[in-house]
Symmetry: C2
């Protein structure tokens, strides 16, 4: 049943798709009721694609959203929505622009101190975020009418993105089988909690380290790890203590609820992520949102064709940070003006004065279709995973301009593989940016490497979207997946790390050595006395 999902001949694939469709329809658990708690922004983009697929397979979907949601519409043909108190009610997108300035300022310190210091400084931000999240979760659990409605619906599944905590809390409270659509969670990689992550070769998120570390880098990673544990247990968990005390049985916290998830759909693929331990209930679905390019709108297609042999540079900085500081956009615009290529730039804000004739500013762009267009030469991106997987899928080299969150780590992963070049926003000038763009355009190294990644990424037993849907329906069919959950989760930390055993074994060894020494001395003494006596 396995196949190279891209190389198949078109006729066969259409035929096969039709048959599989019929087959799947007959096997699906259609009519299942799925409760979805998404995260707004770019996370919604890929959740929506899964929901479309689930809807087409006959599932009934209910989405919880904020009345002030940025991207999640209240009316949809694929789901019913319920407005609930959420993060977006208290935070707005300016929040991220302020955070960006903070990060850029801090990135001028030497690496080691800078990153660690940055996390400390951000601490209050993280604590505040979790307090906001806890407040909105509390409001929902206290809303007796809403909770009765949710209970009475008898959902078959909670599908949530655990980057924000509401879905975890609500799924745990309603005791629903739970599937995570996850990239990172709480203090970083969900893996830190779900699978062992040896600090010697698994870089902690935010550390900007790769998997081959020297002694100093391993020390840095260890400090990051210790800090992340501190953050989880002393900053994040306390933000929820009132909530858990009121609504859950003693001993429950955000970590234990998260570990009760049946399946973790990780938006990762090992052409991108460093090889690392994983668990049987972790399924890798990185790049599930990628698909073949559709034809562009006529005007955009005409623009692409007008680039001639030089091709096109596509730039997009994602959904959250719409405005870079003006001195940076001016430098970028001036650099673009000197290129023989055409440029399409997803841009919101005041038009830069240095903008060249070759550059088209657009408020939104069909990113996947542009990246799959034969004229596209380079993708300039902030390094969010959605965009990077699309670049991998279509084999387009990337110039990375990381701004926030996991973007530094993401770009590092592709840089190690020679598939991207990275420029720092903080030190960006017209000249160094122009040099970097030209390098990625002209040096075949980047294209060769990303096309190798593309080939490996497409060489999977089945398309990642089908994998995702299979495991979601698996959990519905089997009412959970308890047999895939590690027994290690139920151990206290000192037992998990065998510290109790180690102490006792060492004590036994110590005692037996001590006793042997004592016996030897006694014997020696006696012999000594005897010898003296003789």
């Amino acid at each position: 049943m396995h196949h190279h999902f891209t190389e198949m001949s078109n006729t066969v694939s259409v035929f096969l798709a039709l048959l599989c469709y019929l087959l799947l329809q007959s096997l699906s658990c259609s009519g299942s009721k799925i409760l979805v708690v998404p995260v707004d922004g770019s996370h919604w983009i890929n959740m929506k694609i899964i929901l479309e697929e689930l809807h087409s397979r006959g599932h009934e979907i209910t989405v919880l959203r904020s009345a002030k949601s940025w991207y999640i519409p209240s009316n949809s043909s694929i789901y019913t929505s319920i407005n609930v108190p959420m993060f977006e009610d208290e935070a707005n997108r300016d929040f991220y622009i302020k955070m960006l300035q903070g990060v850029m300022d801090r990135r001028s310190y030497p690496t080691f101190i800078r990153t660690f210091y940055q996390q400390h400084l951000l601490t209050s931000v993280i604590g505040d975020c979790h307090k906001m999240l806890a407040r909105s979760a509390a409001k929902i659990l206290d809303d007796a009418v809403l909770m009765k409605k949710l209970k009475d619906t008898k959902f078959d599944l909670m599908l949530t993105d655990p980057a924000f905590s509401l879905g975890i809390i609500l799924g745990g409270y309603l005791k629903l089988p739970m599937v995570f659509n996850v990239r990172w969670i709480n203090n970083g990689e969900g893996h830190q909690t779900v699978a062992p992550s040896p600090v010697s070769y698994v870089p902690v998120s935010g550390s900007e380290l790769h998997d081959q570390m020297n002694f100093l880098e391993r020390t840095k990673n260890m400090l990051h790890y210790l800090y992340s544990v501190y953050e989880q247990y002393f900053i994040i968990n306390p933000a929820y203590s009132d909530l858990f005390q009121k609504h859950f049985s003693p001993g429950t916290d955000l970590v234990s609820l998260g570990l009760s998830a049946d399946i973790w759909l990780f938006r990762e693929d090992f052409v991108f992520e460093f090889p690392r331990p994983t668990m049987p209930n972790v399924v890798y679905v990185g790049g599930f949102q990628c698909k073949k390019a559709h034809p562009l709108p006529d005007d955009l297609e005409a623009f692409m064709q007008s680039s001639g042999q030089h091709g096109v540079v596509v730039m997009s900085m994602g959904t959250l940070v719409s405005a870079l500081p003006p001195e940076i956009t001016e430098a970028i615009a001036a650099a673009f003006a000197q290129l023989p290529q055409k440029v399409i730039w997803r841009f919101v804000g005041d038009k830069p004065s240095s903008l060249g004739n070759n550059t088209l500013l657009v408020k939104w762009l069909p990113q996947n279709d542009l990246l799959g267009h034969p004229k596209t030469r380079v993708f300039i991106a902030h390094g969010g995973t959605n965009g990077l997987y699309e670049a991998i899928y279509h084999g387009v080299p990337v110039l990375g301009l990381p701004l926030l969150f996991d973007q530094f780590d993401n770009l590092l992963r592709m840089k190690v593989r020679g598939a991207v070049r990275v420029v720092e926003a903080r030190s960006l000038t017209k000249d160094n940016f122009l040099e970097a763009v030209k390098d990625v355009l002209e040096n075949p190294f980047y294209r060769k490497n990303i096309q190798r990644l593309s080939q490996l990424h497409r060489d999977q037993p089945m398309p990642p979207m089908d994998t995702a849907i299979f495991w979601i329906e698996y959990v519905i069919r089997n009412k959970g997946a308890a047999h895939l959950q590690s027994a290690g989760f139920s151990l206290p930390w000192y037992s998990y790390f065998c510290l109790d055993v180690a102490v006792v074994v060492l004590a036994l060894i110590g005692t037996s050595i001590w006793v042997s020494v004592l016996v030897c001395r006694l014997l020696c003494c006696r012999n000594g006395k005897k010898m003296k006596a003789e």
Copy 2:
């Protein structure tokens, strides 16, 4: 593309199979040259099934075998064979019968001491086995004509069962991409080397522990773990030291060569194995050899039907140990004689005097077809994985009579899930055996549980055989899978466990505490002196 591979309607499945076949043919890396180093006995049974599939997909297969092989024929329509010096030249099957007597004797000691002691006693056996294996590997590497022939063939892949070391050594020497078809390796689970195996919830093979351990059991597991490390580095590795010194670059040993395998096809499924950490290059294909039952030969079918409503008990003790001690076979035969069921017993040796009319002795039986027969009520087995996966696949409850190797551990896994009952050969009597058979026959608990396992085992994104073939061809297509290999493998053990980092971090903390105390004291002293002076 995913589907429930058993529930599909027949028409669709035939159609789909045909299409997939066409598709796969067009994508396969047919014409690839595969070098296979199998392990004789039951391991060969499942390797052969993979080879048949690979042959049908157009690959050229060369099998290395002993001229005295027990099961591997020299002439085959699916492969070319080459006779080489192997384990079977020096050992014979009586070896296992002697080992069995030893194990049975030792199993009368209390659990903890017994198992540990047993391993110590077996030490010389394990060391001797590896010395035999090293001798035959050395003969092969020293055979210039054979080695030239193997090199000149330019194989695309080494496919081997690493339970014996020859395939690992030869694959490493010829620098071939390598795929393991593996259940256990060297001192136990291959996982002890390929993925982290926290001692707190991953039982070491041979420990007869499960994944939920109390303090004493975790201590026992730790001792087993420490002993297995000792065994690997002080008993097994030294057996090969001359060989590696002569033919490999310094620092190479059996462990490092094993870790260089591209893909590990593990004959495991998590309905059977306890959930545990795994790695991206580990693929679970447990039960790949299972298939729908074919109709039985006429005489056997007539025998099955003659059982009427009572049904049939099927008994087989595997390929290696053909003869149980006569007092045990007499007790079993006498117990069978009292059953209303019919019994089919795979039996080699002298016919027991107590044999009843309801019991049919056969030298060989079509095990998969019998287990899939509707009249089959219970499977009495030694607990090898081939038989257990067939029992899971067909949902037949098992009465286990473990004899050697991993059989005790295997049966424990299914006992924990309520799908088997276990009797000890050493304490077996007619009465307790009869009681146990009746229990498994009459108590619906066992059947219900194994049918739940069967349902979960069959609910996979694709059939495990297709998964196995996909990854074998993946390694051929991509000339290895280096990007799935952990960076942790290249670290020395003290770095892997971060001991170097821990020492330095603790030293730094210690020093800073010491300095602070010193400064405090100096200040106190001064203040004290000042106060005195005043």
